[in-house]
Protein backbone atom coordinates (compact mmCIF):
# COMPACT_ATOMS: atom_id res chain seq x y z
CA UNK A 1 0.00 0.00 0.00
CA UNK A 2 2.66 2.49 1.03
CA UNK A 3 4.57 1.87 -2.19
CA UNK A 4 1.48 2.67 -4.23
CA UNK A 5 0.83 5.82 -2.26
CA UNK A 6 4.40 6.92 -2.77
CA UNK A 7 4.13 6.26 -6.49
CA UNK A 8 1.01 8.43 -6.82
CA UNK A 9 2.55 11.12 -4.68
CA UNK A 10 5.75 11.29 -6.71
CA UNK A 11 3.86 11.05 -10.00
CA UNK A 12 1.80 14.14 -9.20
CA UNK A 13 4.78 15.98 -7.78
CA UNK A 14 6.96 15.22 -10.79
CA UNK A 15 4.19 16.09 -13.21
CA UNK A 16 3.65 19.49 -11.59
CA UNK A 17 7.33 20.34 -11.45
CA UNK A 18 8.01 19.22 -15.00
CA UNK A 19 5.12 21.24 -16.30
CA UNK A 20 6.36 24.32 -14.49
CA UNK A 21 9.95 23.81 -15.62
CA UNK A 22 8.75 23.61 -19.19
CA UNK A 23 6.40 26.57 -19.22
CA UNK A 24 7.97 28.66 -16.40
CA UNK A 25 4.81 30.75 -16.55
CA UNK A 26 4.12 30.86 -12.80
CA UNK A 27 7.72 31.33 -11.91
CA UNK A 28 8.46 34.23 -14.19
CA UNK A 29 5.24 36.04 -13.44
CA UNK A 30 5.49 35.76 -9.68
CA UNK A 31 9.19 36.58 -9.54
CA UNK A 32 8.81 39.71 -11.63
CA UNK A 33 5.77 40.66 -9.62
CA UNK A 34 7.80 40.34 -6.42
CA UNK A 35 10.57 42.56 -7.77
CA UNK A 36 8.03 45.22 -8.65
CA UNK A 37 6.42 44.80 -5.25
CA UNK A 38 9.75 45.36 -3.47
CA UNK A 39 10.13 48.62 -5.32
CA UNK A 40 6.55 49.71 -4.67
CA UNK A 41 6.80 48.90 -0.96
CA UNK A 42 9.88 51.06 -0.67
CA UNK A 43 8.30 54.09 -2.31
CA UNK A 44 4.99 53.60 -0.52
CA UNK A 45 6.59 53.62 2.92
CA UNK A 46 9.48 55.98 2.23
CA UNK A 47 7.67 59.08 3.50
CA UNK A 48 7.11 57.57 6.95
CA UNK A 49 10.86 57.33 7.33
CA UNK A 50 11.10 53.61 8.06
CA UNK A 51 14.49 52.00 8.27
CA UNK A 52 15.15 49.82 5.24
CA UNK A 53 16.56 46.85 7.16
CA UNK A 54 13.62 46.86 9.55
CA UNK A 55 11.24 46.66 6.61
CA UNK A 56 12.80 43.73 4.86
CA UNK A 57 11.04 40.84 6.60
CA UNK A 58 7.67 42.48 6.10
CA UNK A 59 8.44 43.22 2.46
CA UNK A 60 9.61 39.67 1.86
CA UNK A 61 6.43 38.23 3.32
CA UNK A 62 4.24 40.56 1.32
CA UNK A 63 5.98 39.27 -1.79
CA UNK A 64 5.41 35.67 -0.69
CA UNK A 65 1.77 36.33 0.07
CA UNK A 66 0.88 38.13 -3.13
CA UNK A 67 2.95 36.26 -5.65
CA UNK A 68 2.09 33.02 -3.87
CA UNK A 69 -1.59 33.81 -4.27
CA UNK A 70 -1.10 34.55 -7.95
CA UNK A 71 0.95 31.39 -8.39
CA UNK A 72 -1.54 29.09 -6.66
CA UNK A 73 -4.35 30.49 -8.73
CA UNK A 74 -2.36 29.97 -11.92
CA UNK A 75 -1.37 26.36 -11.12
CA UNK A 76 -4.93 25.44 -10.45
CA UNK A 77 -6.11 27.11 -13.63
CA UNK A 78 -3.64 25.16 -15.70
CA UNK A 79 -5.03 22.06 -14.05
CA UNK A 80 -8.50 23.01 -15.29
CA UNK A 81 -7.37 23.45 -18.91
CA UNK A 82 -8.47 20.48 -21.03
CA UNK A 83 -10.42 19.13 -18.06
CA UNK A 84 -7.29 17.60 -16.56
CA UNK A 85 -8.68 18.05 -13.11
CA UNK A 86 -11.48 15.67 -14.03
CA UNK A 87 -8.89 13.03 -14.81
CA UNK A 88 -7.56 13.44 -11.28
CA UNK A 89 -11.06 13.15 -9.85
CA UNK A 90 -11.69 9.96 -11.80
CA UNK A 91 -8.40 8.34 -10.82
CA UNK A 92 -8.59 5.58 -8.21
CA UNK A 93 -6.40 7.41 -5.68
CA UNK A 94 -6.90 8.87 -2.22
CA UNK A 95 -7.53 12.58 -2.47
CA UNK A 96 -5.36 13.18 0.57
CA UNK A 97 -2.21 12.11 -1.23
CA UNK A 98 -3.07 14.24 -4.24
CA UNK A 99 -3.41 17.15 -1.84
CA UNK A 100 -0.06 16.54 -0.17
CA UNK A 101 1.67 16.23 -3.52
CA UNK A 102 0.14 19.49 -4.69
CA UNK A 103 1.13 21.26 -1.47
CA UNK A 104 4.67 19.99 -1.92
CA UNK A 105 5.03 21.14 -5.50
CA UNK A 106 3.46 24.53 -4.80
CA UNK A 107 5.63 25.08 -1.72
CA UNK A 108 8.78 24.00 -3.55
CA UNK A 109 8.24 26.48 -6.35
CA UNK A 110 7.53 29.25 -3.88
CA UNK A 111 10.59 28.46 -1.77
CA UNK A 112 12.84 28.56 -4.83
CA UNK A 113 11.41 31.96 -5.65
CA UNK A 114 12.06 33.18 -2.10
CA UNK A 115 15.66 32.04 -2.29
CA UNK A 116 16.04 34.13 -5.41
CA UNK A 117 14.40 37.09 -3.68
CA UNK A 118 16.88 37.06 -0.78
CA UNK A 119 19.79 38.48 -2.82
CA UNK A 120 17.44 41.16 -4.08
CA UNK A 121 16.65 42.00 -0.48
CA UNK A 122 20.33 42.44 0.18
CA UNK A 123 20.62 44.62 -2.88
CA UNK A 124 17.54 46.81 -2.41
CA UNK A 125 17.10 46.87 1.36
CA UNK A 126 20.71 46.41 2.54
CA UNK A 127 19.60 43.44 4.63
CA UNK A 128 22.16 41.19 6.25
CA UNK A 129 20.73 37.74 5.63
CA UNK A 130 23.71 35.79 6.98
CA UNK A 131 23.24 36.40 10.71
CA UNK A 132 21.22 33.27 11.38
CA UNK A 133 20.60 31.57 8.07
CA UNK A 134 19.34 28.34 9.66
CA UNK A 135 16.53 30.11 11.47
CA UNK A 136 15.80 32.19 8.37
CA UNK A 137 15.47 29.08 6.25
CA UNK A 138 13.28 27.40 8.88
CA UNK A 139 11.00 30.43 9.05
CA UNK A 140 10.67 30.63 5.26
CA UNK A 141 10.09 26.90 4.74
CA UNK A 142 7.59 26.49 7.57
CA UNK A 143 5.78 29.69 6.69
CA UNK A 144 5.56 28.85 3.00
CA UNK A 145 4.32 25.36 3.78
CA UNK A 146 1.61 26.76 6.06
CA UNK A 147 0.63 29.25 3.38
CA UNK A 148 0.35 26.63 0.64
CA UNK A 149 -1.38 24.12 2.94
CA UNK A 150 -4.29 26.53 3.27
CA UNK A 151 -4.02 27.92 -0.25
CA UNK A 152 -4.14 24.57 -2.01
CA UNK A 153 -7.46 23.86 -0.31
CA UNK A 154 -8.93 27.31 -0.79
CA UNK A 155 -8.04 27.50 -4.47
CA UNK A 156 -10.13 24.39 -5.15
CA UNK A 157 -12.95 25.78 -3.03
CA UNK A 158 -13.11 29.04 -4.94
CA UNK A 159 -12.54 27.32 -8.29
CA UNK A 160 -16.08 26.03 -7.97
CA UNK A 161 -17.50 29.54 -8.00
CA UNK A 162 -18.40 31.97 -10.72
CA UNK A 163 -15.81 34.62 -9.85
CA UNK A 164 -12.88 32.41 -8.99
CA UNK A 165 -10.12 34.89 -9.80
CA UNK A 166 -11.60 37.55 -7.53
CA UNK A 167 -12.75 35.28 -4.75
CA UNK A 168 -9.57 33.31 -4.26
CA UNK A 169 -7.49 36.15 -2.79
CA UNK A 170 -10.48 37.50 -0.87
CA UNK A 171 -11.06 34.17 0.85
CA UNK A 172 -7.41 33.17 1.10
CA UNK A 173 -5.78 36.28 2.55
CA UNK A 174 -7.73 36.52 5.83
CA UNK A 175 -7.04 32.84 6.41
CA UNK A 176 -3.28 33.35 6.15
CA UNK A 177 -3.10 36.29 8.55
CA UNK A 178 -1.77 34.10 11.42
CA UNK A 179 0.83 32.62 9.09
CA UNK A 180 1.82 36.09 7.99
CA UNK A 181 2.20 37.35 11.57
CA UNK A 182 4.24 34.32 12.59
CA UNK A 183 6.31 34.36 9.42
CA UNK A 184 7.18 38.04 9.64
CA UNK A 185 8.18 37.77 13.29
CA UNK A 186 10.22 34.61 12.86
CA UNK A 187 12.00 36.11 9.83
CA UNK A 188 12.61 39.35 11.66
CA UNK A 189 14.19 37.49 14.58
CA UNK A 190 16.33 35.44 12.21
CA UNK A 191 17.55 38.58 10.44
CA UNK A 192 18.64 39.95 13.80
CA UNK A 193 20.57 36.78 14.48
CA UNK A 194 18.10 35.31 16.95
CA UNK A 195 15.85 32.26 16.78
CA UNK A 196 12.17 32.85 17.53
CA UNK A 197 11.24 29.43 18.88
CA UNK A 198 7.68 30.31 19.83
CA UNK A 199 6.90 31.54 16.34
CA UNK A 200 8.49 28.51 14.71
CA UNK A 201 6.51 26.24 17.00
CA UNK A 202 3.41 28.17 16.10
CA UNK A 203 4.11 27.61 12.39
CA UNK A 204 4.65 23.90 13.01
CA UNK A 205 1.27 23.76 14.74
CA UNK A 206 -0.44 25.53 11.82
CA UNK A 207 1.19 23.09 9.42
CA UNK A 208 0.14 20.02 11.38
CA UNK A 209 -3.48 21.14 11.73
CA UNK A 210 -3.99 22.30 8.16
CA UNK A 211 -2.08 19.53 6.43
CA UNK A 212 -4.17 17.07 8.40
CA UNK A 213 -7.39 18.94 7.64
CA UNK A 214 -6.50 19.16 3.96
CA UNK A 215 -5.59 15.49 3.83
CA UNK A 216 -9.01 14.58 5.19
CA UNK A 217 -11.05 17.21 3.35
CA UNK A 218 -9.56 17.09 -0.14
CA UNK A 219 -11.60 14.04 -1.09
CA UNK A 220 -14.77 16.07 -0.58
CA UNK A 221 -13.58 18.62 -3.10
CA UNK A 222 -12.91 15.91 -5.68
CA UNK A 223 -16.45 15.65 -6.93
CA UNK A 224 -18.40 17.44 -9.56
Amino acid sequence: MSGQVLSVFSAVLRKDLRRELRSREIFISSFLFSVILLMVIFYASKTSGVQLEAMSSGALWLCILFSGTIGLNRTHQSEMVNGCYRALILAPVEGGWLYLAKVCSNALLLIVMELLLLPLLVLFYHTDIGKNSGALLAALVLGTLAFTAVGTLVVVITANTRMKDVLFPVVQLPLVVPTLIAGVNATEAALQGKTADNWLQFLVAVNVVFLAAGFLLYDFLLEE
Binding site: V8, A11, K15, R19, G83, C84, A87, L90
Partner: protein
Amino acid sequence: MTLSIRFHELSKQFGETIALWRVSEAIEPGDRISILGHNGAGKSTLLHMLATLSKPSSGELTFSLAGETCDDVKKLRDHLSFLSHEPMLYPDLTALENLRFINRLYQRNLSEDALRELLDKVGMSDFGDRLFRTCSRGMQQRLSLARALLPQPKLLFLDEPFSGLDRGGVERMKALFADDQMSWVLVTHHLRLGYELANRFWILHRGRLLHSLQKRDLTYEAYIKLCEGSSMEASA
Protein backbone atom coordinates in the same frame (compact mmCIF):
# COMPACT_ATOMS: atom_id res chain seq x y z
CA MET B 1 -13.81 -9.71 -12.72
CA THR B 2 -17.12 -8.40 -13.93
CA LEU B 3 -18.62 -5.02 -13.33
CA SER B 4 -22.31 -4.26 -13.48
CA ILE B 5 -24.40 -1.27 -12.52
CA ARG B 6 -28.06 -1.17 -11.57
CA PHE B 7 -29.98 1.95 -10.86
CA HIS B 8 -33.48 2.39 -9.60
CA GLU B 9 -35.61 5.55 -9.71
CA LEU B 10 -32.52 7.66 -10.21
CA SER B 11 -33.16 11.42 -10.17
CA LYS B 12 -30.96 14.46 -10.43
CA GLN B 13 -32.21 17.90 -9.62
CA PHE B 14 -30.32 21.16 -10.06
CA GLY B 15 -32.28 23.67 -8.00
CA GLU B 16 -35.68 23.89 -9.64
CA THR B 17 -34.72 22.12 -12.83
CA ILE B 18 -34.99 18.40 -12.98
CA ALA B 19 -32.28 16.96 -15.18
CA LEU B 20 -33.20 13.35 -14.69
CA TRP B 21 -36.41 11.89 -13.32
CA ARG B 22 -36.84 8.39 -11.91
CA VAL B 23 -34.74 6.45 -14.34
CA SER B 24 -34.28 2.71 -13.79
CA GLU B 25 -32.05 0.41 -15.81
CA ALA B 26 -28.99 -1.80 -15.57
CA ILE B 27 -25.67 -2.24 -17.31
CA GLU B 28 -24.35 -5.80 -17.56
CA PRO B 29 -20.99 -7.03 -18.86
CA GLY B 30 -20.97 -7.08 -22.64
CA ASP B 31 -23.44 -4.24 -22.98
CA ARG B 32 -22.69 -1.59 -25.57
CA ILE B 33 -25.21 1.08 -24.92
CA SER B 34 -25.95 4.11 -27.00
CA ILE B 35 -27.91 6.84 -25.23
CA LEU B 36 -30.09 8.91 -27.50
CA GLY B 37 -31.97 12.11 -26.91
CA HIS B 38 -32.23 15.79 -27.67
CA ASN B 39 -30.05 18.44 -26.06
CA GLY B 40 -30.99 18.74 -22.43
CA ALA B 41 -32.55 15.28 -22.27
CA GLY B 42 -30.25 14.37 -19.40
CA LYS B 43 -27.75 12.20 -21.30
CA SER B 44 -24.61 13.77 -19.90
CA THR B 45 -26.11 14.02 -16.42
CA LEU B 46 -26.77 10.29 -16.46
CA LEU B 47 -23.33 9.54 -17.83
CA HIS B 48 -21.65 11.62 -15.13
CA MET B 49 -23.53 9.89 -12.37
CA LEU B 50 -22.73 6.44 -13.72
CA ALA B 51 -19.08 7.41 -14.00
CA THR B 52 -19.09 8.43 -10.27
CA LEU B 53 -18.42 12.05 -11.19
CA SER B 54 -21.56 13.31 -9.48
CA LYS B 55 -24.07 11.95 -7.03
CA PRO B 56 -27.79 11.44 -7.65
CA SER B 57 -30.29 13.62 -5.80
CA SER B 58 -32.40 10.58 -5.06
CA GLY B 59 -32.72 6.96 -6.09
CA GLU B 60 -30.46 3.96 -5.81
CA LEU B 61 -27.29 3.47 -7.77
CA THR B 62 -25.62 0.13 -7.10
CA PHE B 63 -22.30 -1.00 -8.47
CA SER B 64 -21.35 -4.66 -8.34
CA LEU B 65 -17.82 -5.98 -8.71
CA ALA B 66 -17.49 -9.71 -9.38
CA GLY B 67 -21.10 -10.17 -8.31
CA GLU B 68 -20.72 -8.35 -5.02
CA THR B 69 -22.03 -4.90 -4.20
CA CYS B 70 -19.25 -2.36 -3.94
CA ASP B 71 -19.55 1.05 -2.26
CA ASP B 72 -15.89 1.99 -2.43
CA VAL B 73 -15.73 4.66 -5.12
CA LYS B 74 -11.95 4.43 -5.41
CA LYS B 75 -12.10 0.72 -6.07
CA LEU B 76 -14.77 1.24 -8.71
CA ARG B 77 -12.87 3.98 -10.43
CA ASP B 78 -10.09 1.52 -10.98
CA HIS B 79 -12.34 -0.23 -13.48
CA LEU B 80 -14.02 2.78 -15.06
CA SER B 81 -12.79 5.17 -17.69
CA PHE B 82 -14.20 8.31 -19.18
CA LEU B 83 -13.63 9.76 -22.61
CA SER B 84 -15.18 13.09 -23.49
CA HIS B 85 -14.65 15.89 -25.95
CA GLU B 86 -12.23 17.34 -23.40
CA PRO B 87 -8.93 15.50 -23.77
CA MET B 88 -8.01 15.57 -20.03
CA LEU B 89 -4.30 15.68 -20.86
CA TYR B 90 -1.73 18.29 -19.88
CA PRO B 91 -0.80 20.68 -22.69
CA ASP B 92 2.75 21.23 -21.44
CA LEU B 93 3.67 17.55 -21.31
CA THR B 94 4.45 15.34 -24.27
CA ALA B 95 2.11 12.56 -25.29
CA LEU B 96 4.26 9.90 -23.66
CA GLU B 97 4.76 11.88 -20.47
CA ASN B 98 1.03 12.26 -20.19
CA LEU B 99 0.52 8.54 -20.60
CA ARG B 100 3.26 7.76 -18.08
CA PHE B 101 1.51 10.00 -15.59
CA ILE B 102 -1.81 8.21 -16.10
CA ASN B 103 0.03 4.90 -15.88
CA ARG B 104 1.33 5.75 -12.43
CA LEU B 105 -1.91 7.35 -11.30
CA TYR B 106 -3.75 4.10 -12.05
CA GLN B 107 -0.87 1.94 -10.78
CA ARG B 108 -0.85 -0.09 -13.98
CA ASN B 109 2.96 -0.52 -14.19
CA LEU B 110 2.91 -0.77 -17.97
CA SER B 111 6.33 -0.85 -19.59
CA GLU B 112 7.56 1.83 -21.99
CA ASP B 113 7.00 -0.63 -24.84
CA ALA B 114 3.41 -1.18 -23.77
CA LEU B 115 2.82 2.56 -23.76
CA ARG B 116 4.31 2.89 -27.24
CA GLU B 117 2.16 0.02 -28.39
CA LEU B 118 -0.85 1.85 -27.08
CA LEU B 119 0.16 4.93 -29.05
CA ASP B 120 0.48 2.72 -32.10
CA LYS B 121 -3.03 1.42 -31.56
CA VAL B 122 -4.47 4.91 -31.88
CA GLY B 123 -2.16 5.71 -34.79
CA MET B 124 0.06 8.14 -32.94
CA SER B 125 3.27 6.15 -32.66
CA ASP B 126 5.31 8.87 -34.37
CA PHE B 127 4.15 11.61 -32.06
CA GLY B 128 5.08 10.23 -28.63
CA ASP B 129 7.56 12.98 -27.89
CA ARG B 130 5.50 15.80 -29.20
CA LEU B 131 4.10 18.37 -26.79
CA PHE B 132 0.40 17.80 -26.37
CA ARG B 133 -0.21 21.52 -26.86
CA THR B 134 1.12 21.38 -30.41
CA CYS B 135 -1.08 18.47 -31.51
CA SER B 136 -4.09 19.11 -33.73
CA ARG B 137 -7.63 18.58 -32.46
CA GLY B 138 -7.94 15.16 -34.03
CA MET B 139 -4.55 14.02 -32.74
CA GLN B 140 -5.51 15.20 -29.28
CA GLN B 141 -8.67 13.14 -29.43
CA ARG B 142 -6.68 10.05 -30.45
CA LEU B 143 -4.32 10.58 -27.53
CA SER B 144 -7.29 11.04 -25.28
CA LEU B 145 -8.55 7.65 -26.44
CA ALA B 146 -5.18 6.14 -25.57
CA ARG B 147 -5.48 7.70 -22.14
CA ALA B 148 -8.94 6.26 -21.63
CA LEU B 149 -7.86 2.77 -22.71
CA LEU B 150 -4.62 2.71 -20.74
CA PRO B 151 -6.11 1.44 -17.46
CA GLN B 152 -7.86 -1.38 -19.40
CA PRO B 153 -11.27 -0.44 -18.01
CA LYS B 154 -14.16 -2.86 -17.63
CA LEU B 155 -16.55 -0.09 -18.47
CA LEU B 156 -15.91 2.93 -20.64
CA PHE B 157 -18.04 6.07 -20.73
CA LEU B 158 -17.96 8.01 -23.97
CA ASP B 159 -19.26 11.55 -24.29
CA GLU B 160 -19.05 12.69 -27.92
CA PRO B 161 -15.81 10.77 -28.53
CA PHE B 162 -15.78 11.31 -32.29
CA SER B 163 -15.53 15.08 -32.28
CA GLY B 164 -12.58 16.29 -34.35
CA LEU B 165 -11.65 12.84 -35.63
CA ASP B 166 -11.02 12.13 -39.29
CA ARG B 167 -12.13 8.95 -41.08
CA GLY B 168 -9.05 7.03 -40.07
CA GLY B 169 -9.45 8.03 -36.46
CA VAL B 170 -13.07 6.94 -36.39
CA GLU B 171 -12.15 3.58 -37.94
CA ARG B 172 -9.48 3.00 -35.31
CA MET B 173 -11.83 3.94 -32.55
CA LYS B 174 -14.48 1.59 -33.93
CA ALA B 175 -11.98 -1.25 -33.97
CA LEU B 176 -10.99 -0.60 -30.38
CA PHE B 177 -14.57 -0.47 -29.21
CA ALA B 178 -15.20 -3.91 -30.62
CA ASP B 179 -13.13 -5.37 -27.78
CA ASP B 180 -15.21 -8.04 -26.04
CA GLN B 181 -13.59 -7.48 -22.66
CA MET B 182 -15.05 -4.04 -22.33
CA SER B 183 -18.57 -2.70 -22.02
CA TRP B 184 -19.31 0.88 -22.86
CA VAL B 185 -21.93 3.59 -22.73
CA LEU B 186 -21.94 6.13 -25.53
CA VAL B 187 -23.50 9.54 -25.99
CA THR B 188 -23.12 10.91 -29.50
CA HIS B 189 -24.79 12.95 -32.19
CA HIS B 190 -23.14 10.72 -34.78
CA LEU B 191 -26.34 8.77 -35.48
CA ARG B 192 -24.95 6.18 -37.89
CA LEU B 193 -22.03 5.24 -35.63
CA GLY B 194 -24.30 5.16 -32.62
CA TYR B 195 -26.39 2.52 -34.34
CA GLU B 196 -23.57 0.46 -35.84
CA LEU B 197 -21.54 0.07 -32.70
CA ALA B 198 -24.13 -0.42 -29.99
CA ASN B 199 -26.15 -3.48 -29.09
CA ARG B 200 -28.55 -1.64 -26.80
CA PHE B 201 -30.24 1.75 -26.93
CA TRP B 202 -31.61 4.00 -24.24
CA ILE B 203 -33.82 6.81 -25.36
CA LEU B 204 -34.06 9.76 -23.02
CA HIS B 205 -36.50 12.58 -23.31
CA ARG B 206 -36.73 15.49 -20.89
CA GLY B 207 -35.01 13.57 -18.14
CA ARG B 208 -37.10 10.43 -18.53
CA LEU B 209 -36.09 7.09 -19.94
CA LEU B 210 -38.68 6.53 -22.67
CA HIS B 211 -37.40 3.30 -24.21
CA SER B 212 -34.76 0.74 -23.58
CA LEU B 213 -34.31 -1.41 -26.66
CA GLN B 214 -32.12 -4.25 -27.88
CA LYS B 215 -30.61 -3.90 -31.32
CA ARG B 216 -32.53 -6.90 -32.67
CA ASP B 217 -35.77 -5.07 -31.87
CA LEU B 218 -34.81 -1.94 -33.73
CA THR B 219 -34.21 -1.52 -37.44
CA TYR B 220 -32.06 1.33 -38.64
CA GLU B 221 -35.08 3.10 -40.09
CA ALA B 222 -36.98 2.89 -36.81
CA TYR B 223 -33.86 4.04 -35.02
CA ILE B 224 -33.49 7.11 -37.22
CA LYS B 225 -37.13 7.89 -36.67
CA LEU B 226 -36.63 7.68 -32.94
CA CYS B 227 -33.59 9.90 -33.12
CA GLU B 228 -35.29 12.51 -35.18
CA GLY B 229 -37.72 12.75 -32.36
CA SER B 230 -41.05 12.36 -34.14
CA SER B 231 -42.04 9.40 -32.03
CA MET B 232 -40.40 10.94 -28.99
CA GLU B 233 -42.75 13.87 -29.01
CA ALA B 234 -45.70 11.60 -29.59
CA SER B 235 -45.01 9.31 -26.69
CA ALA B 236 -43.97 12.06 -24.31
